[in-house]
């Protein structure tokens, strides 16, 4: 089955090896007899609502993020509509911040986000940098990755985080929350990239994308020995040297 992926601003937002996430989704789809068709959605491109099963947006440096923020605002209603219609969405780092209501930089300037996720972000001078380990009780799994952000992301009351921080800073270094999830949309600061060492989450996204595409959502298990080793080492790194204030 064809899984249609819309990769937002791949030329601008690609700082932490976002193409690694796409490569993992593509190969894991192929190994199950599916085909990942990735379409770039750039500045001035329309969002083909209903024709995308999984959206992806990565992170950039402040400069690149500022360059796309204005264009993204024009795509806000189409992207919200897609998520309300059960498309899947993964947003990493800067892309995660842009999906919130706003981002306030250190100088106090507010950049509006698209309000797709129930959160806002306030930058601080001290960056939160280091290995991270999350417990995702909703999936009975853990996620291991690396974070590097100046923004403190605050979830709205009752909003669901992606996971609870076992080690590392997470959204704000205080709440114990990391990331956010809403319907089939997930935002997170974790890169590394995220999916190679957390294959269960890659498969979870593929299943949800397949559900949107109207296909069978069951995926044949893979052996994932290297993935398991990489996860174990990354998780151990977070336990040994994850950041905290």
């Amino acid at each position: 089955m064809k899984i249609r992926v819309g990769h937002l601003y791949p030329d601008y937002l690609n700082i932490y090896a976002d193409r690694g996430n796409i490569a993992v989704l593509s190969e894991r789809a192929r190994l199950r007899g599916h085909e990942l068709a990735v379409q770039a959605i750039g500045i001035h491109d329309a969002v083909p609502v209903g024709e995308i099963d999984l959206f992806y947006i990565g992170g950039g440096q402040d400069r690149e993020q500022a360059l796309v923020a204005h264009d993204l605002a024009g795509k806000a209603s189409a992207l919200r509509e897609a998520v309300e219609s059960d498309a899947a969405f993964l947003a990493v780092c800067g892309g995660y911040q842009l999906l919130g209501r706003y981002y306030r930089d250190v100088a106090g300037h507010e950049q509006p986000g698209i309000g797709l996720l129930p959160l806002h972000t306030i930058a601080d001078k001290r960056r939160m940098i280091g290995d991270v380990l999350l417990d995702c009780a909703w999936a009975g799994q853990t996620l291991a990755g690396f974070e590097n952000h100046a923004g403190r992301t605050i979830l709205d009351e009752g909003a669901e985080p992606l996971g609870r921080v076992v080690s590392g800073f997470g959204n704000d270094g205080e709440s114990g929350h990391e990331g956010a999830r809403y319907r089939r949309a997930y935002g997170t600061y974790l890169h590394g990239p995220l999916l190679p060492r957390n294959p269960w989450f890659a498969d979870h996204l593929l299943s949800e994308a397949l559900a949107h595409a109207g296909g069978p959502t069951e995926l044949r298990p893979l052996r994932d020995e290297l993935e398991h080793d990489a996860h174990t080492i990354s998780a151990a790194r977070a336990r040994a040297r994850g950041g905290k204030f």
Binding site: N14, A17, R19, D62, I129, G130, G192, P196, I233, R237
Partner: protein
């Protein structure tokens, strides 16, 4: 608190600390004396630097600073005694350690970490400064590229009297010329050697002034090249010192015509790769700015073989080990390109560590274009602390998993690589920084190379 400094006494004690560090097997001990000095009396660094009769010269860049500095050292060697931090210790403490050992030297020649440049420049007050390039590297240490660029702008603004040598092919670096009268700009001019498209890992690809993507008449290495903004017209500045008619000779070397206001000469480098042409033209531009005649510049560049771990050839029995440091996407892409232009190795040992000096964030390996290696590769030996992550990079890049061996121990991986290399063949070893130091130590302990602190001037 400031210690009164009987410098001679103090220097002797600090040098002794370095010796103890080496004797106790704590590695090179190259920065320990400097660290102590830095703690005891940071101002002593200014004083020691002030004693060098010819002053100091600083070189910084994300990629190529060790090689460029070593090239300048080789050019200057027949002319004067140079104090050079050739062990790669390039933070303030490393510069301080070199200054402590600088007795009798006339000139200080220091490669400096990008982030440490403002502090070192403030203390050493260089008479000349070469700035090579800015790529994304160790974002876990610096946050963002822009933060380093701002620090460089501040440092340049504070040194109006220093001779400034800049890579005009890098938009961020070339732009510093505006802040300084009389900067010398260097770059490449040979569109035949350009990449067909801007690489994935290119960084400064949007106009500094207006944010529009640059048009590249030629993109040579990452975002380095001949750029013009189609919207506002911001473009590569006119270059003073240029490499033209570049010939790449596989793994054996490269040659080019060095064109400068002082004249023109052909240079045959013993180092391969376009990135080494950048290093050479930068080193040449700096030496020319220091008043070295152009024929001496060319002769020095031609004598130069390799800085340690940077395209170093080490003979082990009847096999050759090629050690090529990798540390960020732009640099690693050039290593891959150069290897493939030689002839793709059939066995490669790639070592990924994640200590502070390597970058704790290993995501950069996913931004490297390793793919050109895949076709000719029979076996990848993935090693280092993050060997499994590296193996995943190649597996998802398309290398069949049965051709990947994960051997976390560096020593065992090296032996496995040698075992897989046919007699008379080359083994390509691509380590990150701390893995390179460890691997060099292993081959040194077997008597194949000397330890780097034993070669230190």
């Amino acid at each position: 608190m400031r210690f009164p400094i009987p410098l001679n006494l103090e220097s002797a004690a600090l040098r002794a600390a370095g010796k103890v560090s080496r004797l106790t097997g704590r590695g090179g001990g190259t920065t320990l004396p400097g660290k102590l000095l830095w703690k005891l009396d940071p101002d002593a660094i200014d004083l020691l630097a002030g004693r060098l009769p010819q002053g100091s010269v600083l070189i910084s860049a994300t990629n190529g600073k060790t090689t460029t500095t070593a090239m300048v050292a080789e050019i200057l060697r027949p002319r004067m005694r140079v104090a050079h931090n050739n062990s790669g210790a390039n933070l303030v403490s490393g510069v301080a350690s070199t200054l402590l050992r600088a007795g009798g030297a006339e000139l200080g020649l220091f490669e400096v970490d990008e982030g440490a440049l403002p502090e070192v420049a403030r203390r050493v007050r260089p008479k000349a400064l070469l700035l090579g390039n800015l790529f994304r590297d160790q974002l876990d240490r610096y946050g963002e590229l822009e933060i380093v660029a701002v620090r460089w702008r501040d440092a340049v603004a504070e040194m109006p009297d220093a001779k400034l040598v800049l890579n005009g092919d890098d938009p961020q670096v070339g732009d510093l010329a505006r802040l300084h009268g009389g900067a010398r700009l260097f770059g490449l001019d040979d569109p035949r050697r350009a990449r067909p498209a801007l690489q994935h890992a290119a960084d400064s690809k949007y106009c500094l002034r207006c944010g529009t993507p640059y048009d590249y008449a030629a993109a040579y290495v990452g975002h380095l090249g001949d750029y013009t903004c189609p919207n506002c017209g911001h473009a590569r500045p006119a270059l003073d010192v240029v490499a033209r008619d570049i010939e790449l000779q596989g793994l054996d070397g490269a040659s080019f015509t060095l064109h400068a206001p002082e004249g023109e000469t052909r240079v045959q480098l013993a180092l391969p790769g376009l990135y080494n042409v950048y290093n050479a033209v930068g080193a040449g531009a700096l030496a020319l700015a220091l008043g070295v005649p152009i024929d001496e510049v060319a002769a020095g560049l031609e004598r130069f073989s390799a800085a340690f771990g940077r395209f170093e050839r080490i003979t082990i029995g009847d096999r050759q080990l090629l050690m090529l440091l990798i540390k960020n996407p732009a640099g690693a892409n050039e290593v891959v390109r150069t290897l493939v232009e030689g002839s793709t190795p059939r066995v490669a040992v790639i070592a990924l560590n994640d200590e502070i000096a390597d970058g704790r964030d290993v995501s950069w390996i996913w931004d490297v274009d390793f793919e050109p290696l895949l076709e000719g590769l029979d076996t990848l030996v993935a090693t280092g602390e993050r060997a499994a992550e590296l193996a995943l990079r190649f597996a998802y890049g398309g290398l069949p998993r049965d051709r990947i061996e994960v051997v976390p121990s560096l020593e065992k991986a090296l032996d496995r690589g040698l075992e897989l290399t046919p007699s008379g063949g080359d083994l390509a070893v691509l380590p990150t920084y701390t893995a390179m130091l460890a691997l060099r130590k292993i081959v040194a302990s077997r008597g194949h190379v000397t330890n780097y602190w034993e070669t230190a001037a």
